[in-house]
């Protein structure tokens, strides 16, 4: 009996659940009882963070700096001078690239120190959009061929004729600065992590937190440290987009078999050559996935970066949504996706291009593409110069199509939204009422009525059953940190929304994924759809869901599910597709039906991978739930969002962000341990 219990997970879980229920109903609701709620012992953490930031930025380690405006010496903290120099450097690069595309006088102004301010003609003219499109065509052709040439140039042609050129170039200039920085930073930190176990150990928790923390929680600290503007947006983007690059670099380098290293050493490589000529090229595949991730993440941040001063598509999107212009917002969202696709394909093609060491070309042949590009740019520049006289109203359509002066499909999209509203509102409203009264409110009350002791028993018990004492303690410690704050009730509400959203997304994702994984074409198609929705700014969902479901928790849930189903679907498709076809054949020969094959063979084999997808689903759902504070929620997200408008919001925002991150990490620990164990049992890896 006892041994049976020891080996049977379901029995252990049911026992745990019974204990949980007993505690749930036996512990009375009493604010003074430690069994019901723990005292907020850690409530001073936000204050500490604020004081630290304040001292760093304004008090500690000051040096006198001469201020020409005041004509006196001012004490400036060294730390602030450092952060602000970084900010100025980033800003200089962003503006320089931006002025190449859009023209302007700031770059020349800062190079000459503003000495020629009076000379109105002294500015950087923009490269005409026609030349940029042609340039992309040539670049695409050089890197891969006609296919890429058309994708790249048509993408940007679309952006231009739809009148989104200016904001797109503003966003592009930000991405063109941040993506390489993320790449270099990620690659070098990844290499360091590979070389030294210590570095990897320290990096791991930092990466975990950076990847799971809601973006909004670190916006205020960035604002304090780096100031408002494009550079702040760049810093936020770097924090968010670098971790996957580091992880994938470490992963790729670790996978290299020792034979490769040995052969490198035998050929007489020194350490430097071994790294850059042998190891990194071998780990290329994973590093390339890293580059792809960096680009996706950079563009996913465009809207959020707009909260702290980044110009471009993200800002225009916010303005459009404020005016409830959903069609316009969707159009802007499509531009974000287009840049993502073009940059991704170009960078992949560039990285995959093999260097031809034996081609013996003269200067002319080597630089043919560049020469063509310069020639065409000059011609198009001249055309643009003269066409200025042709177009009336002051808009020169061959130089730069101004914002809002292009074609638009917004009215069609708006009509679509209206149609959905008119057709389905009645049914949706009934559904909404049902969901709120019978599911969401019941669930919320159940979560809020949970004594703290029973929560701990449930979570730590699950940790113990799945991963033994180690998991039990890790998970318990993570949750304890939240329980000792003033925000436990809000964390419970966040947890309730996350549970619901993850549950529904997982079911949706696994079902869609399983159906689409049946054949090659539908699998490819659904992965494309996943790519689209991962880069399409999630902000856009917020307004239509309010129109359909009002300012209620349902709206937040629908938005979260729409966004969080993406990873669930993606990982299911990938997991199922990776089941070897010989197994399919073997199963078919044993006479199983399609459904049996899916249930008893494919699903168990793909299970560990799907579990990792659920892990991602949780992260996505929590990000969207925090964003749901813009609709109106009462959870941790509401306070995180509110911190943007509080003068001392930095500390609270960071602390609550870490709480959300801890919820993710606790779930991550359980899921990963479980998945690893399954993998071992199945003999994968």
């Amino acid at each position: 009996m006892l041994t049976n219990f020891k080996n049977s997970r379901p029995q252990q879980f049911s026992f745990l659940f019974i204990v949980f229920l007993l505690l749930y109903f036996l512990v009375p609701e009493d604010e003074n009882s430690f069994l019901w709620r723990l005292p907020p012992l850690l409530k001073d953490i936000p204050l500490l963070i604020n004081t630290l930031l304040d001292n760093l930025m304004f008090k500690w380690l000051t040096v006198p700096v001469y201020d020409p405006d005041w004509q006196m010496y001012e004490d400036k903290p060294v730390f602030r001078i450092i952060t602000r120099s970084i900010a100025d450097f980033l800003l200089f690069l962003i503006i320089f690239i931006r002025e190449i595309f859009l023209g302007g006088l700031q770059t020349i102004g800062s190079i000459t120190g503003g000495a020629f301010k009076e000379l109105k003609w002294l500015y950087l003219p923009a490269v005409p959009w026609t030349a940029v499109v042609i340039g992309l065509f040539i670049l695409g052709y050089r890197l891969q061929g006609l296919g890429l040439a058309f994708i790249a140039s048509i993408g940007f042609f679309y952006v231009s004729i739809f009148g989104q050129w200016e904001p797109t170039m503003e966003t592009l200039s930000l991405v063109l600065v941040t993506a390489p920085i993320c790449f270099i930073l990620g690659l070098s930190l990844g290499i360091l992590g590979y070389l030294s176990k210590k570095v990897e150990k320290t990096l791991q928790p930092i990466l975990n937190i950076a990847q799971t923390m809601p973006h909004f929680s670190y916006l205020v600290p960035i604002l304090v440290l780096f100031g408002i503007g494009d550079h702040a947006g760049a810093v936020a983007t770097i924090i968010f987009a670098t971790p996957p690059m580091i992880r994938l670099t470490i992963l790729g380098l670790k996978k290299i078999s020792p034979e490769v290293v040995e052969s490198g050493l035998m050929s007489g490589c020194n350490r430097f050559q071994l790294l850059f000529r042998v190891l990194i090229p071998t780990a290329r595949r994973d590093i390339l996935i890293g580059v792809n991730q960096v680009i996706m993440q950079c563009l996913a941040m465009t809207t959020i970066a707009a909260f702290i001063g980044a110009k471009g598509l993200g800002f225009n999107l916010k303005v459009a949504l404020n005016g409830l212009k959903i069609g316009k917002a969707a159009e802007i969202g499509i531009c974000v996706v287009i840049i993502a696709v073009v940059l991704d394909k170009l960078s992949l093609a560039w990285a995959n291009k093999q260097k031809d060491y034996f081609a013996n070309l003269n200067f002319y042949k080597k630089n043919l593409a560049t020469i063509y590009f310069i020639l065409l740019t000059a011609i198009l520049g001249v055309i643009a110069y003269f066409s200025a006289f042709y177009f009336e109203k002051g808009f020169n359509y061959l130089y730069l199509i101004p914002f809002g002066e292009g074609l638009t499909i917004a009215p069609i999209l708006d009509a679509g939204v209206d149609w959905i509203w008119e057709t389905f509102f009645y049914y949706l409203n009934i559904f909404n009422k049902f969901l709120i009264t019978n599911v969401l409110f019941v669930m919320k009350d159940a979560y809020l009525g949970m004594p703290v002791v029973s929560t701990f028993v449930l979570v730590m018990g699950a940790g113990y059953i799945i991963g033994g004492l180690r998991s039990c303690i890790i998970v318990g410690a993570l949750i304890l940190f939240i329980a000792l704050s003033e925000y436990w009730n809000r964390a419970l509400i966040t947890a309730y929304m996350a549970t619901f959203a993850v549950g529904v997304s997982a079911i949706l994702g696994i079902v869609t994924g399983s159906l689409c994984a049946r054949n090659e074409i539908s699998a490819k198609f659904i992965l494309g759809v996943c790519d689209f929705f991962q880069t399409f700014p999630s902000f856009i969902y917020l307004i239509p869901v309010i129109l359909l479901f009002g300012i209620t928790d349902t709206s937040v849930m629908i938005a979260a599910i729409a966004y969080a189903s993406v990873p669930a679907t993606r990982y299911t498709v990938e997991g199922l597709r990776s089941v070897p076809s010989s197994l399919h054949d073997a199963a078919s020969m044993s006479g199983v039906s399609n459904f049996q094959r899916w249930k008893s063979i494919e699903l168990p084999l793909a299970f560990p991978h799907i579990m990792l997808g659920i892990n991602q689903t949780l992260i996505f759902a929590l990000m969207m739930i925090v964003l749901g504070a813009l609709i109106g929620t009462e959870d941790l997200g509401q306070i995180i969002m509110g911190c943007l408008s509080r003068p001392n919001g930095a500390g609270i925002g960071l602390t609550l962000g870490i709480f959300v991150s801890f919820i993710c990490l606790a779930a991550d620990n359980l899921i990963r341990t479980w998945a690893d164990e399954r993998k071992k049992l199945l003999g994968i890896e």
């Binding site: 405006d69 005041w70 602000r84 120099s85 100025d88 450097f89 800003l91 200089f92 690069l93 006088l105 700031q106 102004g109 800062s110 190079i111 120190g113 503003g114 301010k117 009076e118 205020v220 604002l223 100031g227 408002i228 503007g229 909260f307 702290i308 001063g309 980044a310 993200g314 800002f315 916010k318 303005v319 949504l321 404020n322 005016g323 409830l324 809002g404 002066e405 409203n429 909404n432 009422k433 709120i436 409110f441 307004i543 309010i546 129109l547 359909l548 009002g550 300012i551 209620t552 349902t554 813009l630 609709i631 109106g632 509401q638 969002m641 509110g642 943007l644 408008s645 509080r646 003068p647």
Partner: protein, 313 residues
Amino acid sequence: MLKFIIKISVIASLFVFSSVAKAADPIRIPVLNWSSQIVMANVMAQVFEEMGHTAELVPAESASRYEAVRIGDLHVAHETWESTMALPFYAAMDKGGLIDAGSHNLITFEEMGVPNWVIDEGLCPGLPNWEALKSPECAANFATADSDGKGRWLEGPYEWHTEVMPNRLKGLGIDDLWTVKFAGSADALWAELKAAKAEGRGTVIFNWSPNFTDAAGFTFIDFPPYFEGCRLENGGTLETTGCGSPKGWLKKAAHIKFPITHPDAYKFYTKMSFTAPQIGLMADLVDSQGMDHAAAATEFIAQHRDLIDLWKN
């Protein structure tokens, strides 16, 4: 290796150079996400450029920008609403670095209210007098899926006035009929207006004037008059806390060094003072006439050339 060193040194020198070469420091003006504010920012930018300065528009958030003005990352904050932004405005002033550059020539009003069609359809007879809210039939017309049968007031984000509206319901003794829900953003308020109209359901939302909603017709509810200290958090009692909102100012904030670094621009900024119809026109040029923000600003300046020139000199 040599190439590598050259690359590093080029980046390093660029770094040093870019952080030193800041002489062409533009006047940095925050832009938020509503039309009139963006157009006014563009008007200022264009005037400053006429005066020979460079101006840069920086996307910002309505409340966090005061800290940015205080430490000099932004030079101005030109639309500061009393009831929603006074808190961060004065908090930044307390810390030092932000100065008050005067008010616009108008009185702002921010209050709970209903779109005009709610009154026209007779969803709550007796409005805009608040006593009409006492009737249970009225409250029932404003119920939503999550309001538990009560009528719902949709208040702005919690940070705007914290407990004022829930306290007001208690003070008026109608908290058994009505409940307050906090929207997450101004966007959510406008979406609610549109959704309620399409659905034909009554809605009470927090709104302000001048605002673009004025065009479609919006009526503020008449609550018992406001007086200093009537609210619970200002030392009032449960009897007085039902008072309405005060009429407010619309201020302009500036960084403390702005008058020294750009004296003529600062002079213009202090003289600049728009009226409610002018701000309405700014919003209208974009929202109704579909102009781009910069073009709307050019148009606005053209229409008000005399005024602008007066402020410039």
